[in-house]
């Protein structure tokens, strides 16, 4: 096995995730919430949900970015320590669904504001799909140096 730094090893074994709703309808959020419960149990992969951006390795964003939340999203992303990863969950976070329907409050997808690593489409995506997105991210994390 090639040399892996201690922090990277820890990150791969137990990525800490921050969940942030940027103005979605809650459907993705409740589907994300059930990941923590017995049927899906995301903790199998060492994933822990953390309340603070300062402790988070990955940010899970649900919802279209609304006017009010846009600046907050940037602040939260900036507060996260590097290397940082972003998963956009749901049609809104991927492409800003409401923004395409003449809703003035929604500005668009998450990638308009911060870089996104994994997109999970669906309205809302099934919990299995979100789980798959997280596992894909783990693979991506492996390739990152540091």
């Amino acid at each position: 096995m090639a040399h892996v730094s201690l922090t990277k090893w820890a990150r791969l074994k137990s990525p800490w995730i921050l969940h942030f709703n940027t103005g979605g309808c809650n459907a993705c959020d409740i589907e994300f919430l059930v990941l923590l419960t017995p049927r899906y149990d995301i903790e199998r992969f060492g994933v822990l949900l953390k309340p603070s951006p300062r402790q988070a390795d990955a940010l899970i964003v649900t919802g279209p970015v609304t006017r009010q939340i846009a600046s907050r999203l940037k602040v939260i992303y900036e507060q996260m320590p590097s290397p940082k990863f972003v998963i956009a969950v749901g049609a809104c976070a991927c492409s800003g669904m409401y923004a395409n329907m003449q809703c003035y409050g929604a500005l668009g997808g998450v990638d308009k504001f911060i870089p996104v690593d994994v997109y999970v489409p669906g309205c809302p995506p099934r919990p299995e799909a979100i789980l798959y997105g997280v596992i894909k991210l783990l693979k991506k994390m492996k390739a990152v140096k540091a």
Partner: protein
């Protein structure tokens, strides 16, 4: 017995005489009454006097081109009496009704925010939904407004993170302001609360809504009726079936479409499935908030079969896209009956266990009993809705009072608790879940045969309708106005949380900081509905970070 709307019309006719310009009573339990400018206060107070336990459902503002119309939707004994008043567009000013009915405070602020109508005498006429950087004098719900007005400063919008105004932070007082939000470790949704605390006691709280304001009401005007069903469904991911039912009912009553009985029953089944999953979601997160993570895990395990059921019936777990104008989009397969009964039977058994937990567990009772008191009189004055109202001992349920779908044929009980505290509000939900199980069973057994949808023209005739549905969180109101095209002229949505959040101030005030989560969770707030149209990063400027631990479990994570 004289119908409620007739009584209301009679009394208004008698007292106001010529000041009434127009009366329309299009269908049972609805009346639209246009009064002369300046007489809306008289009309509202007459209704409040005549009908005990009446209140205001919402205020709709409509831009008619030359004038702005304000519709005060008053809920009186199962009927909705709409008092209309018009103001000029150049100088939109009208007297407030908040002194008559305090529950109208947020509704007036909403109209002020989105249409620019100034309510004279309103105690706190501030922005409710739009962002701080929104240009002054730009009102999105006016017809001549275009998104170009605000596009200029779209990107690079940078507003400082939430800061506390320094009032009350001088050395002489012990009151401290704590800002919670909008990104916070507790709620799933972004919303900001400013708590003023004196030691352990909450002195005051000010919620800031609007982080989820997407502008759906405006968006709905630019889509056709049929397309709107899909947009309306995405107002809220949790109570989406209630939203579509409510919207479809409104359009159906404008177009005078009678939906087949089978569709009514199918709607009832799916609405109740939705209620079960919503109530279980709340009960689970309540467990988490109160420090019972095992209860959270248990409830969520038992909630999964409900979602499976939803998937079997509608084809989707959360957003089912089941309702449509003129009926439903899918028939119930007879071979599912057995499965439904089996899953519901198992859930009912589990509900008995949860009822015992909520009722008998001493720690559970200590955390919730006597916490977040909302007296009966306050609940009526603030016009709260749903389980919050019933937890304060008021027997009001739209499924009985203003029956829609198949609720006039299905037997069920309205659950009320007299304790007025967080415990009562949680118990109402536990027992309602059992009622919902029984409703679904009855509906599946008595499902009428026949078609499940009727064909509906794309164009709807001229008209307006107020539709109400008992959503999991309470009274949901949709107002739709059509001018005879394929597009609605105005769609107004009043979600139950907007009605309930106004009581948050009352229930946490003078309570302990540690009780905030238990109080908030008992309201079951859902901000995506409320903002339509809000998680927590705590910025405090003193070392009070231990408080954040208290907030941490506010909801769900």
């Amino acid at each position: 017995m004289v119908a409620v709307e007739q009584t209301a019309v009679d009394i208004l006719k008698e007292k106001l005489g010529d000041n009434i310009l127009e009366i329309v009573t299009p269908r049972p339990r609805r009346a639209f009454i246009l009064v002369k400018r300046g007489f809306h206060r008289d009309a509202v107070s007459l209704l409040l006097e005549r009908f005990k336990r009446s209140g205001i459902s919402t205020i709709t503002g409509i831009d008619l081109g030359d004038e702005i119309e304000l519709d005060y939707h008053m809920r009186c004994h199962g009927a909705v009496i709409t008092i209309k008043s018009r103001v000029s567009r150049e100088k939109p000013q009208i007297e407030t009704i908040t002194d008559l009915i305090p529950g109208a405070r947020l509704y007036e602020r909403e109209v002020f925010d989105l249409l620019g109508v100034v309510f004279e005498g309103h105690p706190n006429l501030k922005r409710l939904l739009l962002s701080e950087d929104w240009p002054e004098g730009s009102y999105p719900l006016r017809k001549d407004w275009s998104p170009q007005d605000v596009k200029k400063n779209l990107h690079g919008v940078y507003s400082e993170p939430s800061k506390i105004n320094d009032q009350g932070l001088d050395e002489t007082t012990s009151t401290i302001n704590v800002v919670v939000g909008p990104q916070h470790p507790a709620l799933l949704e972004p919303e900001r609360f400013l708590f003023k605390v004196d030691g352990e006691v909450v002195v005051d709280v000010e919620p800031r809504l609007g982080y989820v304001h997407r502008g759906i009401e405006k968006g709905a005007e630019s889509l056709t009726f049929l397309q709107d069903v899909h947009l309306i469904e995405r107002i809220c991911g949790i109570c989406n079936v209630s939203h579509t039912t409510c919207f479809c009912q409104a359009v159906e009553s404008i177009g005078e479409i009678e939906i087949p009985p089978r569709a009514k029953y199918l709607r009832t089944i799916v609405v109740e499935l939705n209620r079960i999953h919503s109530h279980l979601l709340l009960l689970g997160t309540a467990g988490l908030v109160l420090g019972y993570e095992s209860l959270f895990q248990y409830v969520f395990r038992d909630r999964e079969p409900t979602l499976d059921l939803m998937e079997m019936v509608t084809g989707n777990r959360v957003i089912p896209a089941f309702n449509t104008i003129g009926g439903v989009r899918r028939d119930l397969k007879p071979e599912l009956n057995e499965k439904i009964q089996k899953i519901l039977g198992r859930l009912e058994e589990r509900m008995r266990f949860y009822k015992a937990v909520f009722k008998e567990d001493p720690t559970m009772r200590l955390r919730t009993e006597g916490v977040g008191m909302l007296k009966k009189s306050d609940a009526l004055k603030l016009c709260v809705a749903g389980p919050v109202l019933r937890g304060s001992g008021i027997k009001m349920d739209l499924r009985k009072d203003d029956a829609y779908a198949a609720y006039d044929e299905v037997p069920f009980n309205v659950i009320t608790y007299k304790e007025c505290d967080s415990w009562a509000r949680l118990m109402v939900r536990v027992e309602e879940t059992v009622e919902s199980i029984n409703i679904i069973r009855y509906a599946v057994e008595h499902l009428p045969s026949g078609p499940y949808r009727v064909k509906v023209p794309r164009k709807q005739p001229k008209g307006e309708a107020v539709s109400r549905v008992e959503a999991p969180r309470g009274e949901l109101v949709h107002y739709v106005k059509s001018t005879g095209t394929i597009y609605p002229y105005r769609v107004k949505v009043r979600s139950p949380t907007l009605a309930n959040i106004i009581s948050f101030h009352k229930i946490v005030k003078d309570g302990y900081v540690a009780d905030i989560p238990a109080a908030l969770i008992s309201l079951d707030p859902c901000f995506s509905c409320t903002d339509r149209v809000a998680f927590l990063d705590v910025n405090n400027n003193r070392s009070w970070s231990w408080r954040l631990e208290e907030m941490k479990d506010l909801k769900g994570e």
